[in-house]
Symmetry: C2
Subunit: 264 residues, 2 copies
Amino acid sequence: MEYPKEARNTVNRKGKMRGKYDLETVHSIIQQARVVHVSFTPFPDDPFPVILPMIGIMGSYARPSAGLDEPQECYLHGYVSSRIMNVTKQTVVDGKLGLPVCVAASRVDGLVLALSPNAHSYNYRSAVLFGYATPVTDVGEKLWAMEQITNKVVPNRWENTRVPPNAAEMSSTQILKVTVQNASAKVRDGPPGDELVDLKDDDVRGRVWAGYVPMVEQLLDPVASSYNRVGEVPAHVKEYIEVANQEELDYANKLVGVVKNATE
Amino acid sequence: MEYPKEARNTVNRKGKMRGKYDLETVHSIIQQARVVHVSFTPFPDDPFPVILPMIGIMGSYARPSAGLDEPQECYLHGYVSSRIMNVTKQTVVDGKLGLPVCVAASRVDGLVLALSPNAHSYNYRSAVLFGYATPVTDVGEKLWAMEQITNKVVPNRWENTRVPPNAAEMSSTQILKVTVQNASAKVRDGPPGDELVDLKDDDVRGRVWAGYVPMVEQLLDPVASSYNRVGEVPAHVKEYIEVANQEELDYANKLVGVVKNATE
């Protein structure tokens, strides 16, 4: 399944090579990002959009088993009296579809060092989605989203904490649901690529090093809080650190393989 | 020096503790980010803002020695026929100050795991700035900005590549200069913090592990391109990898020290 290509979400620059519209690619990039950037226009007479870093997940409350390759909504976590929540509530009262937002997630996977500055680049995964945000009012849906969002920080974390949330926590937390209108992703996962004019220049080739520097996120050893009383770091935390770190190295190694196997 | 607090850039939620307005903090976060997110409204009749991931630097062409604690502009790198460049050019023609943009940079430094899901958080550094973007037309300023941007990927990279850019490269590259109107930063660099209700609950304290998982970006061993002919990885690349990785570990260790030394 693919998002329709419209003016708003079409990848223009190098779009044939790097643009992606399939739900799985777009949703995976949002889902993997530790932080998404959410843009909206909060002040009607102000021309400046605002960007907020937030935690977001992809999911479907109506069909929780829906995979990343199926239609999903984007759920964003926030504080109830924050500006985006207030603006969203006002927007819905006006009888509109919700607050128009753009949600973006980007990951740099490595530094692409070429012969010319112009051919320098990053390998990266980025996604952007456009949709209408509304506050989640159904208590079941809100609890479900809070659980997904906590488990995005560390899988299975929710069931290993003090749950359910109490009344004060439920009322201070606001979840926004973004109904996606369209979306796209842009991915670069290739080797350095220089122009023919430089590849043919023996002087340039003889003195400029061209190559790739992979970059990974790594989680380090967990540290107990001063008020922690549990003796051992629990399995869900220990195992997640290992799995997450290995996944980072696996993706980095895959891209290194692409660089090594490229033909000039 | 501080940016003035206005409605647009004021940090509301936990603003007293985490909000920062000094130029040095804001500029440093933008400068360190490998990618910034830039938001603008490209289609006049469309309510959706767009977010683009771009490479951005802070700097002052008029006073290149200006430190991060002094007034600077934000320079963004792009392709000449991209949407943001076209929209910016149209905006300037209209006789306005430029295209209103919001530039955001965020870094997650670690996972804050608390007793309650509600007290879960990240340690992070984030900054946002608002300003008017205009295309850089002065050739000297454009070349200077291109050099700064290349050297952001790897310090001293510019002088170790094939420079100067040729005519085709100069005309296909567009630099946007953002004149900053106001800005702010938000930083969390503390230990987990739970509510008294949970800290007093022996059952909760006896079964939920509370702690911190630091997260760092690490650059891995460089890989030569298939068309590279230079025998050794050059010093500017090798040394940068070491320095950047060590800086990441140093900051992570600093925050680990804060967690360990916290009193309940």
